[in-house]
Assembly symmetry: C3
Homo-oligomer: 415 residues x 3
């Protein structure tokens, strides 16, 4: 049989019934924070908030095995920068059904263009708030069954899933997501991409709460909880009138609509997503618990006895990201998945790209809950598989007033 | 050197001094429970019992590397569906000694036909109570040294081991197991298999307790502790007359005798094992602790002061499993290991098999302690390496009265 | 492309832009202790000290993937005998810079000849106190950037790092290490090696304490803390005059100078290192806490109110190890890294080597704090990749008086 390497191991059988390949990725980061002193001086007396720490960190250390078993295929990916079963990433068995691919296992539901772009291909070091780095927090991959197809300049995918990634507890929550994209223009130097997705998630017994949670000053920086929809009950505690309580109806659903607009022209590229969601709620928190959860006192009236009521939450987020490849490369469009890939120099040539993004999320039902950041930086591609990234993130948490900044550097390789 | 794939990666050197291969498996399950309402209504007031949860679950996500180093061979298997060092599966260095294979490391002791059958080859989704899913609970693999040989229609194996799998604490417990099988008939369409095994386990400092523990309504369903032999002391607590105590002599041994009878004829297959064991004991539990451990009050007299005495426990279990390959395939017999493999369609053909099993275990020294289940289902083989399984399990815990049922579905692939 | 195996999997592309290989190692140990009864009889009443347990243990179970991506290379190694992110071993991206190799990620800093020798190649089962098994406890690999070169008979390396291995908390500590070696004689049957290294480590926010800690009676035997330099504050507790307290200035630096002398002549080999370090301190412990930390009462005056003062600690360690290959093989010298490798029989021949080491460490600022051991044993090489090791360790903790002994056996294979 035929052996091949482009940095990984690959063997394909002569009769093409079988193939197998082993690849991986290393993303190694360094973070420096410019803490917002006013914020930390005020807040540290009241909370157990952790200050951000300048550090190195393995963001991703993964091995991935894929292969073909007659008409079926498998993929098994494990991230060693995460512990336990939570380190499982894309793991599925799949086959062709009705001109599309069917997958059974753990993978990304069909929603959010930025989420569906591989971490090896994203423009900035971290994904936007419209992905699992925000509105889909901790739900980037889910266990279930999905089907995906593409024709001409369209892609369509649908996923039915258990509200569980392998690191979560077993639970009865269920969800569905679907996404359609259209690239009205797609040729060698210009692409216009339009897309829409819809996601529905229904908590049930033992489902963890669904949150919109953002690290607005970059990875390992301060976090802001933006919205919370209760899970299957386990988080409830206390009694009305206690200093600390959280009470109400467990369960409830979250639905999110996402819209995508993106394009590339020569060395220029821009991508934007808008996501609008309802995080259902119907619960009461003591003021103390509100502060613990959201990092600042409520800016609305909380009944002294029943506490702060939080009902259905209208959550909105959008971002726009752009890049200019100074060395001239064009960002290729992946027609199969309806996402952009990163630029690709032809060795021995290297490539250099400058990048910027504005990202914002707000919860219209918690007054003042708005968090934004502005990120700018560059990517230097030593070759198509090895990249140095630098990002400066200017965080702006309007709810707590924190304006922590971060300088982040990543050495990234994949194979 | 020569590269080969049958879904995995394999390279063999020309001089045959070396070879290496990388394989894996994905078993992805979905469970639906039909809870026994009477049981849970009664019991949940008294205990912290968890109700079973409908969920998806990765049963196994493994990578396995094997190879040859001159006259030695190695195998290293890790299950990413388990956390920590407990995720180590078969890991050994081995060589040929006296016409047999010697292994040093962590592997399955020579006992229980069902246990020794690979999880890729078993007929039902879960193994029987005569394996590590019952009488050998948590002792499916142990660290030690083993030797195995086969000639004509016989196999013989012996294992000496530390009572430790890699997820257990370091301890001084030791054990031995041996198994002999004979296939008086073994040709292309008929096999008759006879076997016997004997296992001895002696707890010592820091050994965890040896238990017979069954999930009688399928994986992730309710558990019933059937028998308990104390380990190296660490579980002992309380004083006589306390509400909660567990006292007596630590250590003690467990010995188990197993008998096997199995056969295949054309598309039909049946297999049965009977295991008889003594779990030594000599301890006292308060009635409350008895209830906590065994899920129901004792049905024998417990002294109000010294509590419920549990001495040596006579544990018996047997099962019979059968299958009929409607598409006609014959279940092949693995003469090297003395076990059956699953049927194997020839692609592009697929195969369909219906299956059933009755399984029961009892502890004759705890009155009323008897647990059974009946499982039926089917296996659909898309090809020799990809299978869909469906099992309906009718659990029957005669000790607590619970009769929870389960519908379980598995997508399974290996390479 | 070209496939190759020497026990692992390797594929190299025809144009030599790419290569990839997958290897691994299994080290499986068995330990028997001859406990020092006097010691345990006295001490167990006072502390929660654990007695050593005879057991089997996987010392290392690793997979390692390496490869080439045009002018870059990667390495990713995971030890499955460790849990969580602490199981990451050498993980880096590297390239050639100025005639040397640059690495970014997690790897061994340039210090300690014994540390820099692969665990597959070391002479005794465990490394000496002059490595991460002692003065560099838990700091055998660190995250950072390093550069290494060699010319003629010299090697030079320098590393800048965050005081973090992937299992440690994120922290702001930084360090630097550098090493120079010279082999004035290096031919087919004689080598003389001289070396020197210098290491500096500066704790900062959230850095764990740096310790010199030794398992003087072999792996999994009793431990003795020899020196402690505070980390970033998290370990401090209590108030002066409490029964248990530990107070003083957090942070502080550790610097260590190491000298190396080694040689091989025919089948004989000897290696020695001397390391001298200052573990900065400026803290007070209650007598009780001193006992908890160091396992015996202080032999110096402790103020009844402010407790035992520990300032800067002058720590010294040295060892000498030797071996004689009775079957005649010469220990090869790795000129690229300035370390010795193990002897290598030519199959089908095997090899036999007898070994011995004296190892000692002392803290001159804690009176009586001196720990030594003497280890002797043999290595039997079935082939160049499979080895049986036996070590007898005679521990001698002069501070607590414990003289526990150990017999350890290892089956080791790598590929």
């Amino acid at each position: 049989d035929k052996a091949k390497t482009e940095g990984g191991l690959k063997i394909t059988s002569k009769d093409e019934n079988f193939s197998a390949e082993l690849g991986g990725r290393i993303h190694f980061d360094t973070y420096f924070f410019d803490k917002d002193k006013n914020y930390y001086d005020t807040i540290l007396f009241d909370t157990e908030l952790e200050e951000p720490v300048n550090t190195t960190d393995f963001r991703r250390v993964r091995l991935k095995m894929r292969g073909k078993l007659w008409k079926w295929e498998y993929e098994l990916e494990r991230d060693f920068a995460s512990s336990g079963t939570g380190g499982l990433r894309t793991v599925y068995l799949g086959t062709k059904v009705f001109d599309g691919s069917l997958r059974i296992g753990n993978f990304k539901p069909s929603r959010s263009m930025n989420q569906l772009t591989s971490s090896n291909q994203i423009t900035m070091m971290e994904r936007s708030f419209a992905s699992s780095a925000g509105i889909y927090d901790n739900r980037g991959r889910q266990q279930g069954i999905g089907w995906h197809t593409h024709w001409c300049c369209h892609t369509y995918g649908v996923t039915l899933f258990n509200l569980r990634n392998p690191g979560d507890p077993r639970n009865e929550g269920i969800g569905a997501a679907t996404r359609f994209t259209w690239a009205p223009i797609s040729n060698f130097d210009s692409t216009v991409h339009l897309g829409a997705s819809f996601s529905y998630e229904d908590a049930n017994e033992d489902t963890p709460p669904r949150e919109a949670l953002v690290e607005y000053a970059g990875r390992r920086g301060p976090e802001q909880l933006v919205a919370l929809s209760p899970g299957g009950g386990e988080f409830f505690f206390g009694d009305f009138g206690d200093d600390e309580f959280y009470q109400g109806d467990p369960g409830g659903d979250v639905w999110i609509l996402g819209l995508e607009l993106a394009g590339a022209y020569g060395p220029f590229y821009a991508q934007s997503e808008y996501a609008f969601g309802i995080f259902s709620g119907d619960f009461y928190l003591s003021e103390f618990t509100f502060f613990e959860f959201f990092g600042a006192p409520p800016r609305f009236f909380c009944d002294p006895y029943t506490g702060c009521f939080i009902g259905d939450q209208d959550v909105r987020t959008w971002y726009i990201v752009g890049s200019w490849a100074i060395t001239g490369q064009h960002k290729p469009y992946d027609e199969k998945n309806g996402v952009f890939r990163s630029i690709k120099p032809t060795p021995p040539e290297s490539a250099f790209e400058i990048t910027a993004r504005y990202d914002t999320i707000e919860n219209r039902d918690i007054p003042g809950m708005k968090v934004s950041n502005f990120v700018f930086g560059f990517n230097y591609y030593f070759n198509p598989k090895v990249r140095l990234m630098l990002n400066v993130t200017l965080g702006d948490d309007k709810f707590t007033g924190d304006q922590t900044k971060q300088l982040a550097i990543r050495m990234q390789g994949f194979w």
